[in-house]
């Protein structure tokens, strides 16, 4: 159908399209200063993955140290220079590696990379909007994120090295340049990077919230929003409420660091002199930091679980089990996440009464989290599970979430936390439950939405190899850490050689390091697959996974404004998979019952969604119109009849 006639009928909505035709794009406006949400999603994805890969390379360095504390590895001196004299890591640089690893992976990969990519890509496309509410602020959000990255990585190249006080940067260690070299200029750069990052996140978050609230297409009522958008929206609210206190905490830390104030410092005698600061308290920083720090865990996790919901439902060809329970548990987790922060401080010397209160609130989180796990498993039940790469990663996320989540029972209870606090039990727990689990969802989402981003499919076989190596490797790396935690082995130790109770774990550490190196090497497969498929992958059809959500109704080639003509109108919830009576095992959200009766064949390869979306006589929203008098070419199946296996989802 010619778009001009549509434009005259629906003139107001198709201006974006007309604008597109006359718009001349240069390299700068197209790739760098783009205000198009799809391009910004790509920018976030590539920046996030690049930073994340550097982050796991850092872990290779410190894993080598933990496995072979007595060996000299000359190669390290070649690449690190003075940080590894005679092939041995400098202990201060070891701490810097650990700190940067944590900062990069938690903030850059799993907050900026994960939310930034999928919120930018999916919120407008799945809700049927032309773009974000404010494309300009959206562009700024990426640029702040990017310059934050630059500042953070610049700190590797200064004389005193990057920040080294752990990713939580507890003062006074982080506030006193005398305490360790990393607390000098490196710490200032860390704070600047984090402030830039938070500004970026907040700009993005405001946009996500506004877009979800105001720019949903006709018929997209709250209970028809896909779960991934529900979780991205909730995460944006979480970020908006929890990041500002963290910025306040970081700025006060900067004042203590450079201006001689005493918000967090008191009674300190260091490097042969007593400091003048009195009256501050470190626990104040801990409270402020963890008031961000705990919601941050869910800022990482909820989008991952949202993506998993989409993938499991789509590839099991079955509606997500208990949609309303899933929405309620997203909101429940988000609410409870604000009242659990002090479980990171059970042994910090805060009032013991708080220990009891925060134990109770912390364990409450287990209830919505477990409901989500059960619902994933019930979604697979009686489904038709296509074990392709996105689905493998989604199931991997569920598996890691189980393995990591259950040990939260130990750490969330104040009394059991006493011997486990800051041991490898904690390291194993959070890597499994929010680290690997969220990374797997991000991989799964990338494999799933790659055709939407670049119009090409990723290589499936390389995807299987990547998945199995990473799944096995990550389990072998992090599961044994629970056993080390039962032995009381403290985290952030440069070597386990100094204590009798940690010496025995040396063999296991060698094992973990080998597993980690294999896992890291396996990521090269992904990187190759990613960039190779971007240019030479199999061209993707419009709806490669036969999914129901709106992003698969927009043209494969990206255009500004997403849809050529009208915006799609939504007639159903996003999980109409294998509906009895339907002629295919999925019904897209923009297909109305009248369209089905009219005989629209949406499951066929060459189906053009615009033929439905741009129909001028289609009913808008849910209003009933008389069905077409013509007899339907394909009769709808009777309610008891099952759809034919080969209608819809590709069988191979």
């Amino acid at each position: 159908m010619a778009t001009h006639t549509v434009a005259t009928v629906h003139g107001a909505v198709s201006t974006a399209h007309e604008h597109h035709e006359h718009h001349h794009e240069t390299f700068w406006t197209k790739y760098i200063f783009s205000q198009d949400h799809k391009t910004i999603a790509k920018q976030f994805l590539i920046t996030g993955f690049a930073a994340g890969f550097v982050g796991i390379l850092l872990s290779a360095l410190f894993r080598l140290q933990l496995a072979f504390p007595d060996k000299s590895i000359p190669f390290l001196e070649t690449i690190l220079g003075k940080w590894a004299p005679e092939g041995r890591l400098d202990p201060n640089f070891y701490m810097a590696l650990v700190t940067m690893h944590g900062t990069i992976l938690v903030f850059w990969l799993l907050t900026g990379g994960l939310s930034g990519t999928f919120a930018n890509l999916l919120i407008p496309l799945q809700l049927g909007a032309r773009d974000m509410a404010s494309p300009f602020i959206n562009m700024l959000s990426f640029h702040f994120f990017f310059w934050g990255t630059v500042v953070l990585f610049a700190s590797f190249f200064i004389e005193t090295g990057p920040a080294a006080a752990g990713w939580t940067v507890y003062p006074p260690l982080s506030a006193l340049p005398q305490a360790m070299p990393g607390s000098g200029l490196g710490m200032i750069l860390w704070i600047i990077a984090l402030v830039l990052f938070v500004v970026g996140v907040l700009m993005g978050g405001l946009n996500y919230i506004t877009t979800v609230l105001n720019m949903r297409t006709k018929g997209m009522s709250p209970m028809r929003i896909p779960l991934v958008v529900w979780s991205l929206f909730t995460v944006a609210v979480l970020g908006l409420l929890s990041f500002p206190p963290a910025v306040a905490a970081f700025l006060l830390l900067l004042f203590d660091h450079s201006l001689g104030t005493s918000f967090y410092l008191s009674d300190i005698y260091i490097a042969g002199q007593a400091l003048p600061q009195q009256g501050g308290n470190t626990l104040l920083y801990l409270h402020l930091f963890w008031f961000l720090g705990h919601p941050e865990v869910y800022i990482v996790l909820l989008p991952a679980l949202g993506i998993t919901s989409e993938l499991i439902s789509t590839h099991a060809r079955k509606p997500i089990f208990g949609y309303k329970v899933m929405v309620a548990s997203i909101l429940g987790i988000a609410f409870v996440s604000f009242i659990v922060w002090a479980h990171h401080m059970f042994v910090s010397g805060m009032n013991p009464l708080l220990g009891s209160i925060f134990t109770a609130t912390t364990l409450l989180v287990a209830i919505p989290s477990a409901m989500k796990i059960f619902n994933y498993i019930f979604t697979l039940w009686k489904g038709r599970i296509h074990l392709n790469t996105p689905m493998l990663f989604a199931i991997g996320t569920v598996s890691f979430f189980i393995s990591g989540g259950l040990t939260g029972f130990f750490l969330g209870v104040s009394s059991m936390d006493i011997p486990l606090h800051n041991t490898y039990f904690v390291v194993g727990h959070f890597h499994l439950v929010m680290g690997v689990s969220a990374v797997f969802a991000m991989f799964g989402g990338t494999y799933h939405w790659f055709p939407r981003l670049w119009g090409r499919m990723m290589n499936e076989r390389l995807g299987y190899i990547h998945f199995w190596l990473t799944f096995v490797g990550a389990n072998l790396v992090f599961f044994p850490m629970y056993f080390m935690g039962m032995g009381g082995v403290p985290r952030r130790y440069y070597a386990f050689t100094e204590f009798d109770f940690t010496k025995g774990w040396q063999d296991l550490n060698v094992f973990i390091t080998i597993a980690a190196l294999i896992t890291i090497i396996a990521q090269l497969i992904f990187i190759y697959n990613f960039f190779h498929s971007m240019f030479y992958g199999k061209p993707a059809p419009m709806n490669p996974w036969k999914a129901t959500t709106l992003e698969w109704s927009a043209p494969v080639k990206h255009i500004h404004g997403n849809w050529t003509g009208n915006l799609p109108v939504v007639h159903r919830w996003p999980y109409d998979y294998s509906k009895p009576g339907a002629p295919a095992d999925f019904i897209p959200q923009y297909i109305s019952d009248e369209d089905i009766a009219r005989g629209v064949r949406w499951w066929e390869e060459d189906f053009d969604p615009t033929s439905v979306i741009d129909r001028t006589d289609t009913p808008s929203g849910d209003e009933k119109v008389p069905t077409s008098p013509e007899p339907t070419p394909i009769p709808a199946l009777s309610p008891n009849q099952k759809p034919t296996p080969d209608a819809g989802y590709p069988s191979t």
């Binding site: 202990p91 201060n92 200064i158 006074p172 260690l173 340049p177 005398q178 305490a179 360790m180 200029l185 410092l265 009674d267 300190i268 005698y269 260091i270 490097a271 007593a274 009256g279 470190t282 099991a316 079955k318 509606p319 329970v325 042994v347 010397g349 009891s356 134990t359 364990l363 287990a366 209830i367 409901m371 796990i373 697979l380 009686k382 489904g383 038709r384 599970i385 296509h386 074990l387 598996s399 393995s403 259950l406 029972f409 209870v413 059991m416 006493i418 011997p419 076989r461 096995v472 039962m486 009381g488 952030r492 440069y494 386990f496 774990w505 296991l508 999980y575 294998s578 095992d585 296996p645």
Partner: protein, 376 residues
Amino acid sequence: MKPMWGYSLWAQIGSAARARAEELALQQAMEASSFDLSSFLWKLVWLEVVLIVFLSIRMVQVVVRATGYDPFAQWDRDKANMRIWMLIGLSGILMAIWSAFHYADLYLPESASAHGVHIDRLRNFTVGFTFPAFVLVHLLLFYMIWRYYNGRSLAATYQETNHSLEKASLVAISIPVFIIAGWGIYVWNLPIHGQSPTSEQRTLQIEVVAEQFQWRVRYPGADGKLGRYHYKLIGGENVLGLDFTDPEAQDDILPSLKEIHLPVGALVTIQVRSKDVLHSLFLPHFRTHIYAVPGQRNQVMLVPTITTKEMRKKLRNPNFDYELACNQLCGGAHYNMRMKVIVETWEEYQKWLSTQKPAYTPQPSITKASTNSKTI
């Protein structure tokens, strides 16, 4: 160390870059003067390995493209992945169970403190819930993959929700949550913070002070009380900043060796403070853990129940020692803040204490410092 203030970012980056350039020039000059044949050959070997791997992948690709023969074309994707799930999933669960027992020897031995017994009991109960739950939920997941993969299942059943299943899952998770939370709060409030001695029990109050990168311990003198201190008094001999104008401080004992001696059965109160940055007093064998915070005096209580000698006998390890570790990142040598803890009978403890000397040695410099302290 040079002070950081006044250094601009660019000066730092510039100086780092200059230093690196000089380093590289020096390295090059050294390498040019002595050509190392063996390292050159090694580089060649590595290059060859990379080339062989790359070329063989390329050759396979070329052959596949030229002949159109694809050995994996006949593979059933879903069946193959389902089988790998079964293989890896089930063997993974078996491995997890096996290694949990295999590493049991390295776990912390039974608790050597009275309150630790309660913590261990709760921990064992929680393991008894979470480990089977881990196995069962995974088995359920693997069953779904095995039973409903595309191949065995050719059509999905439309099912939006099932209220009784949702209710059952809600109950199934709520029961352990409430049991463990309730029990945990009970144990937390029992003996850990505010215990008071029984009538027969001896009490002891000691102070442990953390600094980069060592621990110091202070015992009270005959009065059984620890004296005042102020951080501005730290200096010279007075490493803990004791205020020697306070008579209670004058008899306080600073042991000469880096050891903590604790009498078995006594109610020990440990006051913990830090001189510089955050540290953490971690006594894994006693299930005792508290941060050392500068400017704040934290306190923790424990009753040691097993002497070092008994524990050595129990573990059949004549070299066993209780250890105090730092468990909050405090700088480069954080991993090396060890102190030996010795639990002994009251008589042995008294004997040891009598050999230690009070910290107070009248010296003009210290008296002068302490008079200053009044003006602070």
